[in-house]
Symmetry: D2
Subunit: 453 residues, 4 copies
Amino acid sequence: MPARLIESLSTTEPLAEVFSDDSVLRAMLDFEVALARAEANLKIIPASASQAIARAADSAAFDIAAIARETLRAGTPGIPLIKALRNRVAQEDSGAADFVHWGATSQDIADTALVLLLKKAAPILDADLAQLQNGLQALVAKHKDTVMLGRTLLQPATPVTLGLKAAGWLGAVGRGRARLNHAFSEALVLQLGGASGTLAALGKHGIKVGETVARQLSLSYPEAPWHTHRDRLANVVCACGILTGSLGKMARDISLLMQAEVGEVAEPGGSGRGGSSTMPQKRNPIGSTIALAAANRVPALTAAYLAQMIQEHERAVGGWQAEWTTISEVIQSTGVAIASMAEAAEGLTVNEKRMRANLKSTRGTIFAEKAALLLSQKLGRERAHQLLEQTTDPERLRDRTLSEVLSQMPEVRDCVSKEALRKLEDAGDYVGMARQFADRLVRSSPNQPPRRK
Amino acid sequence: MPARLIESLSTTEPLAEVFSDDSVLRAMLDFEVALARAEANLKIIPASASQAIARAADSAAFDIAAIARETLRAGTPGIPLIKALRNRVAQEDSGAADFVHWGATSQDIADTALVLLLKKAAPILDADLAQLQNGLQALVAKHKDTVMLGRTLLQPATPVTLGLKAAGWLGAVGRGRARLNHAFSEALVLQLGGASGTLAALGKHGIKVGETVARQLSLSYPEAPWHTHRDRLANVVCACGILTGSLGKMARDISLLMQAEVGEVAEPGGSGRGGSSTMPQKRNPIGSTIALAAANRVPALTAAYLAQMIQEHERAVGGWQAEWTTISEVIQSTGVAIASMAEAAEGLTVNEKRMRANLKSTRGTIFAEKAALLLSQKLGRERAHQLLEQTTDPERLRDRTLSEVLSQMPEVRDCVSKEALRKLEDAGDYVGMARQFADRLVRSSPNQPPRRK
Amino acid sequence: MPARLIESLSTTEPLAEVFSDDSVLRAMLDFEVALARAEANLKIIPASASQAIARAADSAAFDIAAIARETLRAGTPGIPLIKALRNRVAQEDSGAADFVHWGATSQDIADTALVLLLKKAAPILDADLAQLQNGLQALVAKHKDTVMLGRTLLQPATPVTLGLKAAGWLGAVGRGRARLNHAFSEALVLQLGGASGTLAALGKHGIKVGETVARQLSLSYPEAPWHTHRDRLANVVCACGILTGSLGKMARDISLLMQAEVGEVAEPGGSGRGGSSTMPQKRNPIGSTIALAAANRVPALTAAYLAQMIQEHERAVGGWQAEWTTISEVIQSTGVAIASMAEAAEGLTVNEKRMRANLKSTRGTIFAEKAALLLSQKLGRERAHQLLEQTTDPERLRDRTLSEVLSQMPEVRDCVSKEALRKLEDAGDYVGMARQFADRLVRSSPNQPPRRK
Amino acid sequence: MPARLIESLSTTEPLAEVFSDDSVLRAMLDFEVALARAEANLKIIPASASQAIARAADSAAFDIAAIARETLRAGTPGIPLIKALRNRVAQEDSGAADFVHWGATSQDIADTALVLLLKKAAPILDADLAQLQNGLQALVAKHKDTVMLGRTLLQPATPVTLGLKAAGWLGAVGRGRARLNHAFSEALVLQLGGASGTLAALGKHGIKVGETVARQLSLSYPEAPWHTHRDRLANVVCACGILTGSLGKMARDISLLMQAEVGEVAEPGGSGRGGSSTMPQKRNPIGSTIALAAANRVPALTAAYLAQMIQEHERAVGGWQAEWTTISEVIQSTGVAIASMAEAAEGLTVNEKRMRANLKSTRGTIFAEKAALLLSQKLGRERAHQLLEQTTDPERLRDRTLSEVLSQMPEVRDCVSKEALRKLEDAGDYVGMARQFADRLVRSSPNQPPRRK
């Protein structure tokens, strides 16, 4: 039995529900019922068999532990499940049992079940993405002109705005959501190929049966079975990988800004959230932590999925058999990262006072570029840079600001006006296109309403 | 100096050229020239400076080894390159040197150079993909009805056609090509943000300069700089990962079919291709080998790229600095896999005789499913399965075929006609929708002409 | 709730038990009980408190679902578990509740619990490794002189022996077992550092408490707490990664040899093992399939673990929080691969007849190297190679063998004796050091009795 | 041609030299010369041939570009190199050409060359590791009692010492160095197996030849050839992966401590080191950046190596062919990370004043645990925690410290002495076992002198 405790940081409740034993079992049974119904419609199997199968397909009646145990010997959950289903059908209608799984292969049921689970997971992820976008849009709108320190290689740089920073997160999330939904819509296709992917056992009716099953399960019908062509699922996995990368970036930013020494933003607290077992004063960036844990894990799982795409002939020896685990983990880890960041974005506390203080504590050195532009017009770039390397030396600066030091240098006073020197350290005056870029990013990431479930 | 010998199996000549020192250098210089030109157009820097910069930007004149050496201390190739360019400009026009790289940051030049290299690589990959699709389409067309053994978990299964198998490869390649080209078109955007991504040093002209530079370099202009938002490039990397996965599957299939014991297809031979240093008789599946090597490597590189997406604030500490290596390897490995498979597909020799022989050597056991369908109509599925498990036992079968054994069993003769038993082992009669599926796959993967370079 | 169905191919029952909720919970409680006991021994907390804690620490009494739920908010399972334990203790002895978890931090309990789980898993893996070595040693002993085709790049090469092949597997398994056990013994250390890893809350007794707790839990006591130094666990993960790589190689070999067209070995069959839902005749290489699935997955999980080693300061933000999942999966996947290969090795059926037939079907071309050595003594290497490239051409060879063709060439007859030509295709005569190498490998991989549990 | 510019951040000069074309070529030629010499000693080939081969084996005389080009068609660099060597030998002594590469296979030369490169790389890494240990030992010695803020989840925690922090890094580096050297010593073994790993072409002399070649190349002689058993090399790769993980942790810590807002340590600056193309005031944590880039990359490359361990039979189809690239990158990335951290450790500037200021700026909240211990003795843990959650609320604290607030509460004054409250915020008084743990770590990581090259 896998441990909920072990996986508790890698999923959310709704997603754990989607990938629960009961949900898996029901998805497999849904496939068998839809298959039988389609075959009965097309007079391939008796209508009574289809009805018996539908009646027997009650997930609560199956012994999951036994099926799991036999799976390891069979190499696929399809075989023991079908056997168990046949047994149940046979109890009621022994003739009908023969028509269980008619013409299909065990990977058909496993793959279609997986796709059905993805179909349930997609709107959950999407709703949380919509909420995250909402939270970020509000943040951008509120902080369009909130100036803060830019930071490159974790060192102070020229100022930015919180609006631009949040708009950057938003842009990536918007692109990620579009990619993910596109990948889902491409991947939500039926798997039905029979023993070797030709549906030979269904004679001339193969495609017709497939189309009917797909319709019943509200899946698309692909050009052909795809037992060993996993690129569509790989694309879903990759879209998750890219998205958690973007969420990890956002989480890293927030956790850094939330350092006590920086103190510019804080994740929401609240009962049981981010506390410590020993230190009562602690308020940990728990949403960011969870998202970063996911962003550390999903790339490797993506590699696992891509590596196992090398699948032999009509059915793989090894490449396919671990897919369920990998995909279910990727979706759940991505989901917990989205949900964590949505909660963080919505509840983010901004400390503008600390932002101003942090800007000020650089003593104007971050405006060295701005000063260099001013000075180099008269002194040339080289002399200007040289001069600024000296003046921004902390030893020399001590308690003074850059403009104070500069204004005491005759060479500088000769070429730059007092007015210009006074405005040198006005951060809001030096954020360039921050507002325009933020606007452009917001416009490019419109928040679509979440997908219907 | 990196060793060509070490990387010789991981690239092709045209791609090695794209990612060569000279090409990298030229891309960086192209950025600087385009930037200066745009700024001169907008009267931000003197026209004479722009011209001096253009004249100095001759890649042959730079000491690549020195720049590489200084890169390790600077943390980015942009800094030493700009310094070297300034020195060259200064030799001619000392005033102009100040205007080199005006308003930009070192990551602007590095990222844009990378994008320019991708722009050169894209049509190379695409042309080889087109060739691969051509080769596969011809294969499908020629072998629509070439029946061969299906194989699942490396064991004989019901028959398929080579046409369907090749159409499966084709479908995956077509989808992969579409994804890759879409990813490229999304990623080929200018990087220009200045120190913190606000273009503050360019005052109000920031976006105008950017749009002009982008136009000159034939790149798109993004909503905003993307120094620490790498999802578009990640999408290119992922598209490569998925594509090499599909190529690896094709290569695995070919190398398996080419085993002497199977002997159903052979890669083209030819001078120096796939020989052995010791065994004169050898003809190795060298294209598949190269493609599999790539498919073993690219997934991990994809993970490396996704993992490093967690980039701090306005410029990363570590996440960004290894990107060039990772992306250039991903593109080159993908490229060598495509080229290898294109060559293999075009020159693939098919041995239909061996295909028939391999079908036959199963002594009809692969038609057990077909027989089961026949028998279960009268005997019920359970009895039919039981009967077939016995008859397909190799000990029992010995030199006889399944139909021979069956036709000697009274229980069978009672319920199946001689005619049906005779046709039991007609493989061509049991390929279901193979032809239709192949047709659908071909129609879904139209071969677009390659992208203009 | 995670689904047993989803993970059924990625674990064994005994290992799933080790990483079950109850087992995790008990390990955490064991830590708390041992801590309290040690502190009571050292008079840091009252003996009555220690006793109350021990009494309350009954795993059956805890609501695992509730703890899992709160874990997501707390960021660690330690916090809700400690809270629940305090509540239980308080019901009996409200004063004692204060002394639960005295001086420790939540990562202390989580890490030590993980180590305790590893301590339970280690002998399970080791026993299966011993069984695997036994199986392989028997195989080597029995088939020291069983000659079979060597295969390079999946093409026929000069002959080898099955003894050497199995000894190669054995050597890798032996080295892998030694590495894994060494890694475990290094990693089975207590974690106890308190809030920041200094044990400040325990005053001067810190190390003494630690040593006592370690002794009680039969763990080693490390030089210092290792909250953000994960190299010892990384080494366990890597040892698993290397070992599954070696097992994957063995599984690949077996699955290839088991192809119907090769037919040289077969995995054991048996009820429910490796059958097909549709094809009654199938006998799939199910052990190899499971091992290959693990070998496809564990490398990526290894990367996940190594990537998350970059942990901040005294406690990580994200790097640590997904470790339980990753490690528990690595151990279980490795375990199922070992068990699968142990079963395969013990029950492997060898078909020497097919081995001889496959050797023969090369028509002597695999002895081209041998012939080249013979011929080049007289004709020079170049002429010999040229000659052999011609004669090994299948077109030319047709139904004849290499020695037949050669013996008809005057140029050859002039320089090689009839006797030598006759022995040319004697495979047993051309296996070089196969037996010696196999002996050396066996001697280097002595089968230690399994670790005591 | 691979670009030095692209790889400039992923290697050091000495390691780039080791893996340069000339070095690779020389290693391959060294193998051929040693092989010929051993065979001449054992009278297998003429002494004159051995001498001719030795004379021809001048790396400068080979056309590397041509060999690289042919490698792609041959699938291995061994084949074109041997051909070129034969051509050169033939020019002088046409008979001798036949004896080039006698009895060996192309993977023998490639693998042994790789091992020879590793043998050259090992002491380079080791010398830098020794330097890194020296730097860290000095840091520990100097800062045993330098108290600083502990930080968990990037939030302030109870104090630690810089000595303990640096000792933690040292411990991990020491263990990593031991693992790496052990892995190297296990992996530095000759590869010599001939066509299928039996050395059949050498008749009875196989092992004797191998032992002689190994001795000449100062390599160990393994139990048997290991063409498709790569676990020893995998262990080297993993040891690098673990070590870069530990270095990445150290680099992350340093880059975080070097943030302007924290300001507790600084990497050494110096000409061209860590500057900015635009911001003259910048001093970037360039060593940490380079190490983090490596630590982001090496885990994925480790996964690539482990994944490709699944190698077929006697020689792999794809698994082996990309190994050179992967291993050479792993070694170089690890090397640049070690060198960067060695430089950082040696030149690290420590700002004790900022450490004290940062401790103070928490206003005593980090001593909440300490206070809780004090208070709970009288008030019980629950009341104490409750009280401290209130008092550590920043809103309530404002400009006061925790002890100031507490000392104004009658409930507190009743149970804690003034003296105890006064000492509450004495950080040096609350570092527990920091010094002892640091001492233990130092003792466990003795700095061995570097390996002889």
